[in-house]
């Protein structure tokens, strides 16, 4: 009865950023741009949502940053290890249509969600411009893949170590000054999505953000991921995860994202203490 999901490839992409290919045919055969999966690593694990970043045959790719206990544990797994449960694909697909010119913009690990959207948008006949932002050049991920998926790729780093010196939002402004933009996806940390989506508001450009609230079941049964969009309560897991950026109550989202911060800190400290005791202390060096 118990079926485990085998990790086929696991590697580090940047500081604290990891990618993992896992064999999960029921997800891979039905996944589309914008959807996510719920992982539960083992019997004691929590259920965490991860965006489906790519699909190949029976396998899916997820990319994540090791920030809490579960993602740190996930980062410590290697090819040949297994994930206890993978549910999905969950959530609605990206609203891919022929818009004209689309921009897909990613900040940090949010970039992981872009290639699958870029490819789908391009397949639908759009010209796709990719904008990838990171704090510095060493934190940039998926550059080659984005280059291949987009008609044009622009890069920004906060410290100027690669591409434009500044924020991805500034690059978006430059693109908007240069040409007509019809649809934008902005994916990254909540604060970055909030700030960056202001760039397109005045121009009335259709803009989507992919939200990452705390989830439990991921199927619309608990309401943990509720977020206010256009004055209405929506469940990110079934009504999203992508929403009209200009209608999202980001302050409410960020407030709920902070809800378990003390518990997350405890859990991570406990995990580090445990792994250090078990594995000689260098496991997560």
């Amino acid at each position: 009865m118990t079926r485990l999901f085998r990790i086929e490839k696991a590697e580090q992409l940047a500081d604290k950023v990891y990618q993992m290919w896992v064999k999960a045919p029921h997800v891979a055969h039905h996944a589309a741009a914008g959807q996510f999966v719920i992982f539960r690593i083992d019997e004691k694990g929590e259920r965490i949502p991860l965006t489906i970043s790519a699909v190949d045959g029976d396998s899916i790719r997820v990319i994540f940053m090791a920030v809490g206990k579960t993602t740190t544990h996930l980062a410590a797994l290697s090819a040949g290890d297994s994930i206890r449960d993978i549910a999905g694909p969950l959530g609605k697909q990206s609203d891919i249509k022929k818009y004209g010119t689309c921009v897909v913009l990613g900040g940090g690990v949010g970039t992981a969600s872009l290639p699958i959207i870029a490819r789908a948008a391009r397949a639908a006949g759009n010209r796709v411009i990719g904008i990838v932002g990171a704090r510095n050049a060493s934190l940039l991920i998926l550059e080659d893949e984005m280059k291949a998926a987009c008609d044009e790729l622009l890069i920004s780093t906060d410290d100027g170590s690669k591409g434009f010196h500044g924020f991805a939002a500034d690059v978006l402004k430059q693109v908007m000054a240069r040409e007509t933009v019809d649809c934008v996806w902005i994916i990254g940390p909540a604060m970055m999505m909030k700030v960056t989506s202001e760039v397109t508001r005045a121009a009335g450009i259709r803009t989507y953000v992919s939200l990452n609230p705390v989830m439990v079941d991921g199927t619309g049964m608990c309401g943990s991921c509720r977020v206010t969009v256009g004055g209405e309560t929506k469940f990110a897991c079934v009504d999203g995860p992508e929403f009209d950026a200009h209608k999202v109550d980001f302050a409410g989202l960020m407030q709920r994202l902070r809800m378990y911060q003390p518990e997350e800190k405890d859990s991570l400290e406990r995990y580090h203490a445990h792994t250090c005791a078990c594995k000689g202390g260098d496991h997560h060096a």
Partner: protein, 459 residues
């Protein structure tokens, strides 16, 4: 007057002492010993025309299994139970027998009704220890049936269809089968190893369980409709919120979320288990049903001082009387005729503002319609608020089947045989009725399974 269960005369169940049970999630009620079960069974009049069966949604031959207990043949009693009910240890614990079989028992007017639920539970618990009885299975029909949702309805439909010889694939979106039996009902009312054992018995009939499969996503509706017949038992999983200001503040939960975190994810044992929950020091629960009682009693076990706020009168509480009595014993404060109007706080919640309710004319449910008394607002300090005001049918899959006729509240419309408006597609349980009981879902699932069997054999 409500009579708390432990105060009934004669052989009753044994509740663990309050000061012990509020510190853990072990079962409250200890159950019968063999001697007690035989003594209680001996009271049964073995009516020629037993009315108790009329009260049983799954038609258990009640006098027959009780007769075997009285005779000391517990295995035979289990065999009789299993003929009609694959989940007896569960039903013995969570069925509202007082309004079903026991409510019909003619002894209720003389002394007290036979404790049918306790006896069912006794037999099922005995069976689990001494080896599960498996009912007969018909020869394979060669027909493939999909059952969606592994809660009480889905498990029952799957078991029945497998017994009737069909190949059953049972889809469940969570990582464990059981539905509300696993995520909703707390372990102190329904221990999870008991649920798992009865699910194993269902699976051993040859049911193919697919966990982590959300139908409509992990398999498409088109793939679903390729099965020879489909049963939808997707339940009432959509939590209702009250629409209050402040309802999205950290610390505010739907009962579904609060209970899922603890019952399914074991947040009570955080950080050994990874899922956290806010263990409020002062908790307000809104609602008066069994789910509200469960949420309140879980919050109590997590160490909180718990206040339950209900908009109607105590006599209107829809929860089982025994569970209300136990909640009170455990120190839950009941504030009746009051309704939350606002969750207070900034960044985190600090309290719940409520308003007193006046009971006015009778409404369509035959109960007085509550109306807020203006100017009667009062505040209960709290760091956790749980809305337990009901759940609607899970809209996800049924929303992907636009041809499926649905009622005003989103429920799937079915006929007496649980047939939907879509050919080959049947539905039963909360998805059709709205939130109701485990046993009503099971009764519907059995009717559906037999109707599906007739359809599959006629075709």
């Amino acid at each position: 007057m409500r009579i708390p269960a432990p105060a009934r005369e004669g052989i009753t169940m044994h509740d663990r002492p309050v000061d012990q049970r509020i510190h853990d999630f072990a079962e409250v009620d200890g159950g019968y010993s063999p001697d007690e079960a035989m003594l209680e069974s001996a009271r049964c009049l073995q009516c020629k025309k037993p009315v108790c069966i009329r009260g049983c949604p799954v038609n258990i031959d009640i006098p027959a299994f009780i007769r075997e207990i009285a005779a000391g043949d517990f295995k035979k009693a289990a065999t009789i139970l299993k003929e009609q009910n694959m989940l007896p240890a569960i039903c013995g614990r969570v069925c509202p027998q007082e309004v079903q079989c026991e409510g019909e028992c003619i002894l209720k007017n003389k002394e007290r009704p036979i404790a049918i639920g306790s006896l069912e539970r006794f037999v099922a618990d005995w069976e689990r220890v001494h080896g599960m009885v498996l009912p007969h299975k018909k020869t394979p029909s060669g027909r493939r049936v999909a059952v969606v949702g592994a809660g009480p309805a889905g498990l029952t439909a799957a078991a029945e269809l497998a017994r009737l010889g069909h190949h059953v694939t049972l889809f469940e979106s969570l990582h464990a089968a059981g539905g509300v039996l696993m995520y909703g009902i707390p372990a102190f009312r329904l221990p999870k190893e008991i649920v798992k054992a009865e699910i194993e018995a269902v699976l051993s009939l040859g049911v193919d369980l697919k966990l982590n499969h959300l139908v409509g996503r992990s398999i498409t509706t088109k793939e679903l409709l390729n099965f020879d017949a489909v049963f939808l038992g997707t339940g009432a999983g959509l939590p209702y919120f009250m629409g209050l200001p402040g309802e999205n503040l950290p610390g505010v939960y739907s009962a579904n979320e609060f209970l899922t975190r603890v019952n399914l994810m074991h947040a009570d044992r955080f950080p050994v288990f990874d899922t956290p929950v806010k263990k409020g020091s002062r908790v307000v629960v809104a609602g008066g049903g069994n789910v509200a009682m469960d949420a309140a009693r879980v919050a109590r076990r997590l160490g909180g001082k718990v206040t339950l706020v209900y908009r109607r009168r105590e006599e209107d509480l829809p929860a089982r009387e025994a569970e209300v009595a136990r909640a009170k014993e455990e120190g839950i404060e009941f504030v009746m005729c009051a309704n939350p109007v606002q969750v207070l706080g900034d960044q985190v919640m600090t309290g719940v503002e409520c308003v007193r309710m006046n009971m006015c004319e009778l409404d369509s449910s035959g109960r007085p319609e509550p109306a807020p008394v203006s100017g009667s607002e009062f505040t209960i300090d709290a760091d956790v608020f749980i809305a337990a005001i009901g759940q609607g049918p899970n809209p996800l899959l049924i929303g992907e089947l636009p041809e499926l006729k649905r009622g005003k509240r989103g429920n799937v419309i079915v006929d007496e045989d649980c047939r939907t408006s879509l050919r080959k597609v049947y539905a039963g349980g909360d998805v059709a009725t709205g939130a109701a009981t485990v046993i009503l879902a099971m009764g519907a699932a059995k009717r559906a399974a037999h109707a599906m069997d007739r359809m599959l054999r006629d075709e």
